[in-house]
């Protein structure tokens, strides 16, 4: 068996972390090594999310770990939260996606936009994994432009009547509760977008797996249909208002994803490095050739840059000054970097690189989803373009 993963730390970035941050990272790293790595290859091939891992993740406090203790969460700072995402994605982007959705896209909106009763009811249950959540924003015809959504919520005497369809929803089929975004006013009024807590057992709510994925196969991605789905009046998230509310959730999730990209890239670099030292071709290790050293040097450089940039992003978030544009830069850079690292690692591994027994190709395929979701790479380019020129190009 390969040696336990020890991370990549060429610039002693560890010395910039507190003892507590390192302890959090070490717990998640050890958990991934022990519980995720042995099963992830098979889960990926089977196309199944490994549900059996949920209780263990919940017991250790992986869900919504940066939310306060009074709601059953760990109350960690944002750097520690980022390190959790990094380590989970070192294992698999699908597992990190599960935790991102549960924490940043379900628990966070309840925390930020929910009433005190909603917080007290839902957050401890989501932290403990008793309830599994999903986040329904994207629709078949509205991806990069979610403000165009056509799902509606009409207020009636009995509550809110939801109608519409959501697509590409992570955790959709296994979720017991869904955060659904819908327009409460005119169809061109993005200010009327509100969030609703919709239990999956609600009449008129159906979720079905999206089949045929070649990426994020160990994650559940579903289509959700809402047909005259009636929820009580208090299902609305009272403090949500306008498209900026779901976008605030995405900022939280993207922040974690930026960290996750480092994890996936480290996994690929680590695999490529050890393979390059062991694989003998033409009488010497391939790691002793200039071509492969160039691959490794490039990966190491990009990982190190991403580590420093993302740690600073975390420090800004902990200070309360982080901007969404800064998150766009990190998500865009890190996921693109991870895509490149995964592809180069896969190539370095020769034919072995296409096997599920190794990890690089799984990461490579997964990262194509991560490149697309939470704002495509292109969209983040346009966000940065707008940020510096003041001129929107989308």
């Amino acid at each position: 068996m390969a040696n336990a993963f020890v991370g990549v730390d060429f610039y002693d970035v560890d010395s910039l972390l507190s003892e507590e941050e390192r302890a959090v990272r070490d717990t998640v790293r050890a958990w991934v090594e022990e519980h995720l790595m042995p099963i992830i290859g098979d889960a990926y091939i089977e196309g199944e999310f490994p549900k059996q891992l949920i209780p263990g993740m919940a017991d250790l406090g992986f869900f919504g770990a940066n939310l306060p203790e009074e709601y059953g969460c760990a109350g960690l700072n944002n750097v520690s939260y980022g390190l959790i995402m990094q380590e989970l994605e070192r294992g698999d982007s699908g597992i990190r996606s599960f935790a991102s959705v549960q924490g940043a896209l379900v628990m966070y909106p309840i925390f930020a936009f929910g009433s005190e009763e909603q917080k007290k009811h839902w957050l401890p249950r989501l932290a403990s994994g008793e309830e599994i959540g999903c986040f329904g924003l994207t629709e078949p015809d509205y991806g990069s432009n979610p403000g165009g959504m056509i799902t509606t919520a009409k207020e009636t005497t009995d509550g809110w009547l939801l109608n519409g369809a959501k697509m590409w929803i992570t955790n959709g089929s296994q979720a017991t509760v869904s955060i659904i975004w819908a327009k409460t006013g005119a169809i061109d009024d993005t200010k009327s977008i509100r969030g609703f807590i919709v239990p999956a057992s609600t009449k008129g709510y159906t979720a079905k797996d999206q089949k045929g994925k070649l990426s994020l196969r160990a994650s559940d991605t579903s289509e959700i249909v809402l047909q005259d789905c009636l929820v009580p009046k208090d299902a609305i998230l009272p403090k949500s208002g306008g498209i900026k509310s779901p976008l605030m959730c995405l900022t939280q999730a993207r922040y974690g994803i930026a960290w996750g990209g480092i994890g996936a890239a480290m996994a690929c670099y680590d695999e490529a490095l050890s393979y390059s030292k062991e694989r003998i071709m033409f009488g010497k290790p391939i790691g002793q050739t200039q071509l492969q050293q160039s691959r490794l040097a490039e990966m190491l450089t990009e990982i190190t840059k991403a580590q420093l940039l993302t740690l600073q992003l975390g420090r800004l978030k902990d200070r309360g000054t982080m901007t969404p544009d800064q998150v766009s830069l990190a998500k865009r850079n890190n996921i693109n970097m991870a895509c490149e690292a995964a592809r180069e690692a896969r190539r370095l591994l020769g034919a072995n690189g296409i096997l599920a027994e190794y990890h690089s190709m799984r990461h490579m395929a997964n990262l194509e989803s991560v490149y697309t979701y939470e704002g495509t790479h292109d969209m983040h380019t346009l966000i940065l373009g707008q940020a510096v020129t003041g001129l929107p190009a989308f």
Partner: protein
């Protein structure tokens, strides 16, 4: 039930390590430190005993420089109730010196059980537990793989070559722990946060005289390279001759 667990901060010996310039110690550069493996099992054993008992406390104790506080906090993160740091600039190699300091701290502490790992994974002396037991005048069972406490008496199992030995002992007692009692749990994220608020007492270590010193640490010599005598059936007679005359295994 009141349980003390003595833990040592050691370098992770699975990672690549180098011998320092003086040849008497490991080069500290690049080493990653953690609770010694068997000591982690001892913490787990202590926590399980207190949990199954429904009450009591687990006190973790470590000797060394300030850095051992990180290791103590890891055990607090796993669930230990409080920690004692016996401050010493260095951890002596002589087990008796260490055992003296631990016995001085633990003797009057009112502990029902004092747990140790079977050995520290760096120095591998296997001496500190039994020596501390002797100094405290307590019975000592070593390298156990199962432990039950009932009616003020302990029952422990030890794995012998091809057999299992079951022993009974009165309490208080010293027990050293092998693997088998249950893998050490990971500190949960809430545990890590809680550890910062748990008591951690710092006292000077009253080390005993150190009579042993390390003379030199060396890696084993490289194995001589293999030799290819020939290929195919033609090489067999020569191979047999060499196995008889040179390797002397036939």
């Amino acid at each position: 039930m009141k349980i003390a667990v003595c833990i040592k901060r050691v370098p992770d010996m699975d990672l690549r390590f180098a011998i320092g310039a003086g040849g008497k110690a490991l080069d500290p550069v690049g080493l990653k430190f953690d609770i010694a493996d068997f000591d982690g099992y001892a913490v787990e054993a202590g926590l399980r005993l207190v949990e199954s008992h429904g009450s009591g406390e687990v006190v973790v104790v470590s000797i060394g420089p300030t850095a051992v506080q990180e290791t103590l906090r890891k055990a607090l993160g796993m669930g230990a109730h409080r920690a004692i740091h016996l401050d010493a600039a260095e951890v002596p190699f002589d087990g008796m010196s260490i055992a003296t300091a631990l016995a001085a701290e633990l003797k009057e502490g009112g502990y029902d059980l004092v747990l140790f790992g079977r050995m520290a994974t760096d120095s591998a002396n296997q001496t500190v537990g039994p020596m501390a037991a002797h100094l405290m005048g307590l019975p000592c069972v070593t390298a156990i793989s199962k432990l039950d406490i009932a009616n003020g008496r302990g029952t422990a199992e030890r794995q012998l070559e091809g057999a299992t030995e079951t022993m009974e002992f009165p309490m208080p007692a010293v027990v050293t722990i092998d693997e088998g009692l249950g893998r050490p749990r990971l500190p949960s994220l809430k545990g890590i946060m809680a550890a910062k608020k748990k008591p951690l007492e710092v006292k000077p270590a009253q080390l005993g005289a150190a009579n042993l010193t390390v003379d030199v640490i060396a890696f084993p010599p490289d194995r001589p390279p293999g030799r290819i005598i020939g290929e195919g059936a033609d090489a067999v007679p020569e191979l047999i001759r060499l196995l008889q005359t040179e390797a002397k295994v036939l």
